[in-house]
Amino acid sequence: MPDITPERWGELYDRAFPQVYRALIATTFDRERALDGLHDAFEEGLRNPPHDDRNLEGWLYRVALRKTRRGIFPAQREVSIDAGSSADEVAAIIQRLEVGRLLSLLTERQRAIVVAHYYLGLTQDEIAEGLGIRRGTVSATVSQSLARMREEGIARG
């Protein structure tokens, strides 16, 4: 696999942007943080591109999440979908989604796991490694989100 050149990196980034941006929105409920994280991940890719272009969405998501947590607010506030980002039209869109009901009841870390798994298609091992948590935690979070969806009739039809 040849090295990823800056030009190639730009193409790959543009191709992955829509899916990763949406995943970050669903995780952070915060458009600014999602864009900041992605921009920082883009720069990281220019400096230290991934070894290959396989699962680039997963790489960008992990790096962007890590970057957004290293911002000037080290312990990022938990943005509530109900109140915190009411000015953001993106929050209103998420509220209308069926899965938005589930996401709004999870913590940001739980959302990061569920979105990575169900939307980006990352394996539990990839999520555990990328987010720096145990595989059992990933498994339990996915399992609990299933139970939560059952409680609340999400995907009931």
Binding site: I25, T107, Y118, V142, G153, G157
Partner: protein
């Protein structure tokens, strides 16, 4: 993730792909110091905030000067305070033309012997009486289940995460006395509580436990990651101990309790992967001290989260994505794909068991609410219209715990959800269709019974 596990992936992709993208020009920014950029943005924000506060203080001072001589202060109600029950103007629209309800007031429909449970952010669950906005109880919990009669709730306490560390407990509490809970089970370190269901006689609880640290082993060996348990729950005292009924022989499998017919000695649970389709329907028979579990492959795509049992645990219903409708089967055996009555394809906006009956409630054609009585299915179908006049997009949420009313969601969801509580008669001649709308910030998940 194999094909049978892609149900929830489909749901997430379908929904999240609707999030609009920023303009192309915002996708990238020239290399910059991200932190510095955010810091300058913060400084600008602080400056703007200071200016706004200063203006607000000046304006507020002037307004206060004017109002103090005219009238007393008017409180600004919180969103919850604004949710005043109102009668829906469509209250006169009933399915039986021969019966037009007399003028109905909201208090005729609300019954404060009952209440609602709401899921709130931050893993909280709250109760309120039907007609009141005031919360009567507030729990910090994981999963939960309300008994078939609505009188009691079992729930997992928070904890057992890497951050919290405290062992999780399964507790039981009475809806009428939510301040006193009793611990049924305390999990071990490294375990986490899963799904819960009550037995049909409310004398026991079946629950799943997830192992955070599955025992590693050679391929194909028993690396139990999940298990099904039961515990008996007495009226005023607790008896029996946590009993392990089944352990998964495969890591990554999620076990989901479905129903427990305790007097008959039969329980059922489903197995799913991480994607959400039930790939195995498992039935356990108790005979003395013997416990026998039979697993059966599910040949169709039934979402595990849609599977629920009638209050007497005799029948089970689920949404079958292959057939685009609901399907039902007896608790003790799921032969093939279950059974699809003709009306089932209308039930894609919800298929919920009406307590105390074998009727499945769902929103059917022409914006009508249907009840499918599985005991009286004919070749022509099983359904009857309970009431009509529902707005577009209405979805079934929960029946009142005694089955005498149903709650539906209406309108787009948002910070405040609009619900419709509709009375259902006990027979075809009884008055049905009287309704009242109410709003709440919480996500209504169940009916409870206080008295």
């Amino acid at each position: 993730m194999d094909d049978r596990d892609k149900g929830l992936t489909h749901l997430f992709v379908r929904d999240l792909d609707e999030i609009p993208l920023p303009l192309r020009g915002e996708w990238r920014r020239a290399p910059r110091g991200g932190t510095a950029m955010r810091a300058s943005r913060l400084l600008l924000g602080i400056g703007a905030l200071a200016a706004v506060v200063a203006i607000a203080l000046i304006v507020g001072f002037q307004l206060n000067e004017r109002q103090s001589s005219v009238a007393g202060p008017s409180s600004s109600p919180s969103p919850r305070d604004t949710a005043i029950p109102v009668l829906d103007p469509r209250a006169s629209a009933t399915p039986t033309a021969s019966h037009t309800p007399a003028a109905t007031v909201a208090t005729d429909i609300f019954n404060d012997d009952f209440g609602f449970a709401f899921r709130e952010p931050q893993d909280r669950l709250t109760f309120r009486a039907e007609s009141s906005q005031t919360r009567g109880a507030d729990f910090s919990i994981g999963g939960f289940a309300v008994s078939a009669d609505g009188r009691r709730m079992v729930y997992w306490t928070e904890g057992a995460t890497e951050a919290a560390g405290a062992p999780q407990e399964l507790r039981v509490v009475s809806a009428g006395d939510p301040t006193h809970s009793q611990t049924l089970v305390t999990l071990k370190s490294g375990q986490m509580g899963g799904g819960i269901v009550w037995s049909n006689d409310a004398g026991g609880v079946m629950f799943a436990v997830i192992d955070l640290n599955p025992v590693p082993g050679p391929p194909g060996s028993s690396a139990a990651a999940a298990s099904i348990h039961t515990v008996d729950v007495g009226g005023t005292s607790l008896f029996s101990t946590d009993r392990v009924i089944y352990r998964s022989q495969q890591g990554g499998v999620v076990l989901q309790p479905v129903a427990w017919d305790r007097p008959a000695g039969v329980l059922a649970f489903g197995e799913t992967g991480e994607g959400g389709f039930m790939f195995s329907y498992d039935v356990t028979h108790f005979s003395g001290s013997d416990v026998t579990t039979t697993r059966a492959n599910v040949p169709v795509q039934i979402t595990m989260s849609s599977v629920s049992a009638s209050s007497d645990a005799k029948y089970v219903v689920g949404i079958d994505l292959t057939a685009q409708g609901f399907t039902y089967w007896p608790l003790q055996t799921m032969s093939g794909a279950g059974h699809h009555p003709p009306e089932s394809k209308y039930g894609m906006t919800g298929a919920v068991w009406r307590p105390g009956t074998h009727e499945i409630g769902f929103v059917g054609p022409s914006n009508q609410f249907w009840l499918c009585d599985v005991d009286h299915e004919t070749p022509l179908g099983c359904g009857r219209t309970a009431f009509s006049g529902l707005p577009d997009g209405a979805g079934t949420r929960a029946f009142r715990a005694d089955g005498s009313a149903v709650v539906l969601t209406v309108g787009p969801s948002g910070p405040t959800t609009t619900y419709l509580l509709v009375r259902i008669g006990t027979d075809a001649k009884s008055r049905s269709g009287d309704r009242v709308t109410f709003q709440d910030n919480g996500n209504l998940v169940s009916s409870v019974r206080f008295r």
